[in-house]
Symmetry: C2
Subunit: 371 residues, 2 copies
């Protein structure tokens, strides 16, 4: 058991922005809400994935919506605390812990807000090791967990409890439609999980990883080095893929997602080349041309755009003409690279007729991949 | 207390199709489900609006969705019974009666299915005296009742419980989006009402009126008279507006509604004239030209299209080229013609810059309009 304190929030947010791989919403606005709660005395306790007692259950918390919406709305204080109470009522017993739904972007902070508001500890683990745009794209759902109960809460406190959902794809469709009607953003309980499910299905240590990445980026800044050095320090498998200037962003918010394509003109050693990145909230694929061998990286590996001046990771909603960016690739956690996972989060699941050629290694630097 | 028996269903359905004014979904398919339940021993008891005990509450039941969807799906047996149970769980106490959400079309039958499945009596009253396309368009919501709790159930048994909705228009937006994601049709509990609310806000006797209209149409058929005579017998204020042939139907299912325009070429004494009817699920306005005085009838008064050959009322989803139709106008119940009601269900609420010029009289033939 440890605690996240006010002075840790900045590092968690900065690292979560990296793990967002373009999505998950801005962590900086959520961080403001969390800071305010902590100044009012709220505390956020963190436990390891092995710590919840075997009879405990907890809600998987996240925010839902296109990040283009998120940048216009501060998360409503109280929403995640309400959701924790509502899941307890739906289950007929109070929750014992908070599970993170997605460690990328603002969704790393939402469960901490839920923890601060409910007093329940948050588990240092998540089911993606990054952000992904759809509800079926996480280790819980890939393993067949049903989204039960699913809860949404809008900015005005309207709650929706969905039950008897047959599968995560139906949950995705229904929750997406409702979130869109709610104005584009909502607080989400994806399901309730028990201690065993967290221990065996989630990727352990990803909240600590977010903080470690943020700390390493802070250290790099202090020594006037690029923040990409910090990222590489915290994630051993990091590759520098490209450096250049954003020359075009084609953007459309369609069917509840921010979709589009970014074109980056190479600078320095990349002069004369162009990188094209498609996104659906998250960055999906980076290509220098149309041939198979031109694919530099594809999901589930992480594409990270670090803006040169601030050194911060850019969400897809914040990319704009003229920004200079370093494009990094980070290897996904091994849990996202199993055959079952690739069927849900690999390039083909996003409509790309491209084989997944993984970066070597594991997001968390774990040596062996369990059978 | 009386009972609706298997041999009454046909008349209720036929009359409900008239009161549907083009919407509410086909009652004939729902009638099949109800007949099957009755053959299995289920009973439907009917009570007057004054009969529920003052401490009882009941769900307002209806189906939600575009009628174009309804014609492709039989209502799922069990859905309305589930909804009655679910509303009891949400309220913390069992329902004591079933309230009809909309007496027009299939929505007249859905509450009877809910009654057959739950064993609870259905109240002979509804909050429209017809069908209307949106959730705020009924006397309960016009009087300020909150849609609490709102429940939806899809064809696969997925339930959604929406709480803390601030108003009926928000309920409409959220429920419409979700129903659309659910495949276009869902069972709905619009709210729970208590006995006082049913007694003071609903329009009494409309289930009996549907049956009376159906019986009078049956009698007209037996004497080889047009069914329009039967309708006029049951509803004293009925006007014959037009007779002709459908020559064009422009149809689009947009934003969860079946919208469009029907053109009818006059026959007989109407030869040389054309009637244009706009619909949004229900028929909204009938015009012979573009001037104010060309409006023959507008909401909330009821437009009814009786197909010549079958004598049946046509839902907007069933109108097609070549059908010969009598177009009738029925005066709305006075509850739909108050200033507060017209702000929600009058022509202007549907975007028509047209004054409401009511047909004389009251749908139920009541002499005086209470102050």
């Amino acid at each position: 058991m440890r605690e996240i304190r006010e002075e840790d929030i900045g590092a968690v947010a900065e690292g979560a922005a990296v793990l967002g791989a373009g999505g998950g919403g801005s962590p900086y606005q959520s961080a403001l809400v969390l800071r305010r709660l902590m100044r009012q005395g709220a505390r956020v306790r963190v436990v390891d994935a092995s710590e919840p007692a075997s009879d405990e259950v907890g809600p998987i918390l996240a925010g839902m919506g296109a990040p283009t919406v998120g940048i216009e709305r501060l998360p409503t204080a109280g929403r995640f605390g309400h959701l924790v109470e509502a899941v307890g009522r739906a289950l007929g017993r109070p929750a014992g812990f908070i599970a993170i739904g997605e460690i990328g972007g603002g969704n790393a902070i939402s469960p901490l807000i839920g923890s601060a508001e409910s007093g329940l500890p948050v588990v240092d683990a998540d089911p993606m090791g990054r952000a992904f745009p759809e509800l079926q794209m996480n280790t819980y759902m890939i393993a067949g967990l049903r989204p039960q109960p699913l809860l949404l809460e809008d900015a005005k406190g309207v709650t929706a409890l969905l039950e008897h959902l047959p599968d995560a794809r139906t949950a995705e469709r229904y929750a997406r439609a409702l979130t869109w009607a709610m104005g584009g953003g909502a607080g989400l309980v994806l399901a309730a999980v028990n201690a065993d499910q967290v221990r065996h299905l989630a990727i352990p240590g990803t909240l600590s990883l977010a903080e470690a990445i943020g700390r390493a980026m802070e250290r790099a800044r202090r020594r006037h080095a690029p923040t990409s050095e910090g990222v590489a320090e915290a994630v051993a498998g990091t590759r520098h893929l490209f450096y250049g200037k954003v020359v075009d962003v084609e953007r459309r918010t369609a069917a509840g997602f921010a979709r589009g394509t970014i074109r980056i003109e190479g600078l320095g050693s990349r002069r004369g080349q162009e990188l094209r990145i498609d996104f659906q909230n998250e960055y999906l694929i980076a290509r220098t041309g149309d041939r198979m061998e031109d694919v530099l990286l594809a999901v589930p590996d992480l594409l990270v755009l670090l803006e040169e001046e601030s050194g911060r990771a850019l969400g897809s909603e914040a990319v704009r003409y003229g920004l200079r960016v370093d494009v990094l690739g980070l290897p996904a956690a091994w849990e996202m690279k199993t055959e079952a996972a690739l069927a849900v989060v690999g390039p083909k699941a996003f409509g790309y007729d491209v084989d997944f050629r993984p970066l070597p290694g594991d997001l968390l630097g774990r040596a062996a991949v369990p059978a």
